[in-house]
Amino acid sequence: MDLQGISREQKELGAAVCMLLFIISLFLKWQTFGPISGSGADLGSWPLALLIALAAGGIMAADALGMDLPIRRMNPTSVATYLMSLLVFYVLVFMFAIDGISYGVWLALLFSVVGLVLTFSVFRQDTR
């Protein structure tokens, strides 16, 4: 897939939308084990994932819309890239641990990875 045909703002907004979809996927079914099922929000640490996704998506949306961010000494896209890589790690940790993983985990992985790829692409543009 060629990401060069997509504008910087489109990539940033795409990444922000991915974070929104990631947040929604936290409330979908992550585990089905016999009669028992659970969502990502049943994990005790889900508020941390929610906050990280909000911060990363907010940074990307604000940058795309040309808003000033209060992180002057750091490149906003590098912060967002790092936060999204933590979300990929979060999903992977639970994917490897949960028995009977359901569609919600796959969607969470998809949105976090696509968000990371788009953000990393913007970060690469910035650092060149």
Binding site: L43, G44, S45, L86, F94, F96, A97
Partner: protein, 131 residues
């Protein structure tokens, strides 16, 4: 006797704290909830505990090898890579500290060690960037 510069000192401290965090995974983190009703270690919390263990161990090993000036690592931006990888340990610890009850000394030890490892890896990266 070899005298280490600031970069190497930060790298060694980061590597040692990262290594100790790997050990702290095997201390009791929570008092209740084990299969036998006993204490639960950081490594026993979840089947995928090997993932942060491997990531932090690799980050620590890279820092140590770079501090000892192993030639094969000269071409790699080791402090930057380790600064990227090391917070995984802190993130893993924070995930369970936020979610768990009856927290024991192992979890607090792991939190302190991972925070220290992140700090020294970042200081090594900053020192390396300044040249």
């Amino acid at each position: 006797m070899t005298r280490f510069g600031a970069l190497e000192r930060f790298e060694i401290l980061g590597a040692v704290l990262g290594g100790l965090w790997c050990g702290a995974l095997y201390l009791p983190w929570f008092g209740i909830g084990g299969a036998d009703g006993g204490d639960v270690t950081g490594a026993g919390l979840i089947d995928s505990a090997w993932l942060p263990l491997v990531i932090v161990a690799v980050a620590s090993a890279l820092l140590l090898l770079d501090a000892l000036s192993i030639d094969g690592f000269r071409s790699l931006p080791v402090p930057a890579i380790s600064t990227f990888l090391m917070p995984v340990g802190l993130f893993y610890t924070a995930l369970f500290l936020l979610a768990g009850e009856d927290i024991m000394y192992g979890a607090w030890t792991a939190l302190g060690l991972s925070a220290g490892a992140v700090l020294f890896a970042a200081l090594a990266w900053i020192t390396d960037r300044r040249g």
